[in-house]
């Protein structure tokens, strides 16, 4: 059976990780020189709120090579965050080349991170668990990639800005009025999704977008991942109002992994959704 490998820059529900046997590698994480890879979200966000500056590194090629070799399979789909955001995709390509005599590894660039990447991993893993061949699993990943949308509300954009990954999202910086900046991804990079003043406006805007995509893909159901850094209150409200309006195939709410939190900050929350059918 095809095995799925990814990094913890993707956010995936824990029971799915177990059920579909997904291998999640941990990106190295540091506070200053102190390595804290695998730190619990609670402790991580507490230290961020106390003013400590975290940083991450890409998945080491060596770790990928070891992982690929040790998995009990002959074919692996290795799914990673946007190659425009991280060198991990390239590390994986190198590692795949190094192990090609022992195991076939296909590397997939999601062009996304966190919940969006998680959705692609989740759907690919479900497909692989049905015993499909690599071609089908990859084309599933492609199909999800072409439909999935991720929108993140990030009250403090400075974390992203400092990392140099804000891209066109810079247009959202510098407002002298209090706003909630919202971002999405296009072509593997961050682009502005909008600016709103209140959380309920943010939710409305997200629901508007879902309505548009629902119509665009003539979808029948939604698969949804909701994520928050420290406070799940908005996710609960959003879940309620999405369930009221749309037919939901599956919905999970997760706490965002620290390795993602490094860039989104403690106030962030967001959604990724995959319009199915049609």
């Amino acid at each position: 059976m095809i095995k799925i490998v990814t990094g913890d820059a993707s956010d995936i529900p824990e029971d799915a990780v177990k059920k579909y046997d997904i291998t999640i590698l941990k990106h190295p994480l540091y506070f200053g020189d102190e390595e804290v890879t695998g730190i619990s979200p609670e402790e991580f966000y507490r230290r961020v709120k106390e003013g400590e500056m975290p940083r991450t590194a890409l998945l080491p090629t060596g770790l990928l090579v070891d992982t690929y070799e040790k998995l009990d399979t002959d074919t692996i789909l290795s799914i990673h965050l946007s190659s425009k955001m991280s060198g991990t995709y390239n590390s994986a390509l190198t590692a795949a080349e190094m192990v090609k005599d022992k195991v076939k590894v296909e590397v997939f660039d999601t062009g996304l991170t966190t919940l969006g990447q998680g959705m692609i991993v989740l759907e690919s893993a479900i497909c692989a668990s049905l015993g499909k061949d690599i071609k089908s699993v990859k084309s599933k990943a492609e199909e999800v990639k072409s439909r999935v949308k991720m929108v993140l509300a990030i009250p403090d954009l400075n974390f992203l800005h400092r990392s140099g990954r804000l891209g066109k999202g810079k247009a959202l910086l510098g407002a002298m009025m209090r706003i909630i900046p919202m971002i999405t991804y296009s072509g593997g990079e961050i682009v502005p999704f909008g600016r709103v003043r209140t959380e309920s406006q943010a939710m409305e805007k997200i629901k508007d977008e879902i309505r548009k995509d629902f119509a665009k893909f003539k979808a029948e159901r939604l698969k949804v991942l909701l994520g928050y850094a420290t406070d799940d209150k908005i996710c609960q409200e959003l879940e309620e109002s999405i369930r009221e309006e749309f037919s939901i195939e599956e919905l999970h709410t997760l706490q965002l992994n620290p390795v993602v939190g490094v860039y989104l900050g403690p106030g962030a929350w967001g959604i990724s959704y995959y319009p199915m059918g049609g």
């Binding site: 247009a171 407002a175 002298m176 009025m177 706003i179 296009s186 502005p192 999704f193 600016r195 709103v196």
Partner: protein, 575 residues
């Protein structure tokens, strides 16, 4: 007056033509829909001319060697006919020049197995006809070239009427446009003028808009798309012969009531898209050189003719160049190799080229740039709006002329009056300027700010317009002021100097500013209240009031900013 030119000068004319063509080659590429929509006409013609001008000075042979594609080879044949006609002279006059153009056209036409009118060959024909006529009276090269260029442009403009596929695709002929650019460049090198480059509206971008038009249901958005079309027509008309003639056509069809329904409009869009996306009959562009003496050109041509179309077999004394669109490249090479030694084989997958051409993601340069202009009466408000990316006109009620000064670019403008009284001037300015854009009818400062926040440079103008208009509806506005005169508002009598609150055209007199603000905070609905305090209000007073508000209305969220507006102590937005 220039009445004679020598070879050196002819070469410099050609260099002028090359420079103009090469700077405009993307433009030409993006017109390329016939014979195959593969977007390389400009590049091919440029390569051909460049080849002709480099090397040992043998323009004819070098351009043929470098020639690529249909239009490239046709151009090389034009050069061949031209140069052969004047080769024996040290200097030529306008009459010789005209005859040479005629010869060039003839040679080019003869090289084509099935000449199609409405292409470069027609533009050449009319140019040469004009040259002959004009040279009878004009001894001056500048005047002659001016006439030729004019005639060529006129013919180019008519190409869609001659060749239906061009009309459906909404473009003039690419090769013809390339030829016009060469004439333009030659003329301008004589005049020693420089020409500005045109902005290229890439086909993929244009198709995207047509596809949107073909798929949307919302009549409001269709109207908006037509506005964008209008905008594009305006930009392109100023620069050169209309690029997307389809927009001009569809707009005039609507005006003349030839298109009366939305389905008819969509049908028009779908037809245009299908022309660009049409399946290519022969997939490969195949070219090669056949070297050897006394090659039987005629028989070679007959032999390959059943295998494809767009056939060109042309020669110089020592070599023959073959061009064909076919599905059997190997068979073509096999046939050619029986006539001589094969060289410079070239196969291009035009299907792939077409796909890349019409789906290419374009850089932002070709996007419609958008700009938000907001009219605000206070320095604090202006600063806030600037921080959110707007251009600001600081004024309570600007004149049309003041607004007009800000509409100075090719951008798509969103004008936010943020004041009911400034709407007419904004509308008038946009109309007078003939610039593209729309007035978002924000009647108050909070409405203007909300609309500005809703703007997203990533979206298309029509989406932004929709979002900004929606944003206006979400916000409510209250004001606190001191009456400047005695007045009667319905039941309410107001004396000069009275403190009043205004909300939803309801006016109330209050004992204090605080009372007025509290009244509004009670009456207005919303989660978040944004207070802009005016120029006559002290910062300490405003901050003290904020504390009191937060205490009194603990379930609501208040924010305070310095607005700096005159007349109004507080302007409050609730959403």
């Amino acid at each position: 007056m220039i009445d004679k030119i020598d070879f050196k000068m002819f070469r410099s004319l050609l260099i002028g033509g090359y420079e103009r063509l090469s700077s405009q080659k993307e433009w030409v590429n993006n017109l390329n829909v016939f014979p195959v929509p593969d977007g390389d006409t400009g590049s091919n013609m440029t390569l051909t001319l460049k080849g002709g001008l480099s090397g040992d000075g043998n323009i004819v042979e070098n351009s043929l060697l470098a020639a690529r594609g249909n239009s490239g080879i046709i151009l090389s044949q034009f050069l061949k006919g031209f140069v052969d006609a004047v080769n024996h002279k040290d200097q030529i006059d306008t009459r010789d020049f005209a005859i040479a153009i005629k010869e060039g056209e003839k040679t080019a036409r003869n090289a084509i197995r099935n000449p199609v009118e409405g292409t470069i060959i027609t533009v050449m024909k009319e140019a040469s006809r004009c040259a002959i006529q004009s040279s009878r009276r004009e001894g001056d090269f500048i005047r002659l070239l001016e006439n030729i260029e004019k005639a060529a442009k006129l013919t180019l403009k008519k190409t869609p009427e001659m060749l239906p596929v061009l009309k459906d695709a909404g473009v003039v002929d690419a090769g013809g446009q390339g030829f016009v650019y060469i004439l333009e460049g030659a003329l301008y090198s004589l005049r020693e003028h420089n020409l500005e480059n045109d902005i290229v509206p890439h086909i993929s971008k244009r198709l995207h808009i047509w596809k949107t038009l073909a798929s949307i249901e919302n009549i409001y958005r269709i109207r908006n798309l037509l506005d964008i079309g209008n905008h594009m027509v305006k930009i392109w008309q100023n620069r050169t012969i209309g690029m997307d003639l389809a927009w001009e056509r569809v707009l005039s069809l609507i005006k003349n009531r030839k298109i009366k329904t939305i389905p008819a409009l969509k049908q028009f869009a779908r037809r245009l898209i299908s022309v660009w996306e049409r399946k290519i009959e022969y997939k490969y562009d195949v070219e090669c050189l056949v070297r050897g003496e006394n090659i039987e050109k005629q028989s070679l041509e007959e032999e390959i003719a059943p295998l494809g179309d767009s056939i060109l077999v042309v020669d110089t004394p020592s070599l023959t160049k073959v061009h064909i669109h076919t599905n059997e490249p190997e068979r073509i090479f096999e046939i050619c190799s029986r006539y001589g030694e094969l060289d410079d084989r070239f196969i291009e997958d035009m299907e792939e080229q077409q796909h890349e051409f019409i789906t290419a993601k374009q850089d932002t340069e070709t996007e419609i740039h958008q700009k938000v202009i907001i009219i605000l009466p206070g320095d604090g408000l202006c600063e806030i709006a600037k921080s959110m990316g707007a251009e600001v006109i600081k004024s309570s009620n600007p004149s049309t002329k003041e607004v007009l000064e800000y509409l100075n670019s090719e951008d798509f403008h969103f004008v936010l009056p943020a004041n009911g009284d400034a709407i007419p001037a904004s509308l008038q300015a946009l109309k007078c300027s003939k610039k593209s854009g729309v007035v978002i009818p924000a009647k108050t400062i909070p409405e203007g700010m909300s609309a500005l926040l809703a703007y997203n440079p990533e979206l298309e103008p029509n989406e932004n317009e929709e979002n900004m208009k929606e944003a206006i509806k979400r916000v409510k506005t209250g004001k606190v002021t001191i009456s400047a005169r005695d007045a009667q508002f319905g039941e309410v009598k107001v004396n000069k100097g009275d403190i009043i609150s205004i909300f939803c055209s309801e006016i109330k007199v209050h004992k204090s500013i605080k009372e007025a603000v509290f009244e509004l905070a009670r009456k207005m609905e919303g989660e978040i209240f944004t207070l802009f305090f005016g120029i006559d209000t002290k910062k300490e007073d405003a901050e003290a009031l904020l504390v009191q508000l937060k205490k009194e209305f603990s379930e609501k969220d208040f924010e305070l900013y310095y607005g700096g507006q005159p007349f109004y102590q507080y302007i409050i937005g609730a959403e």
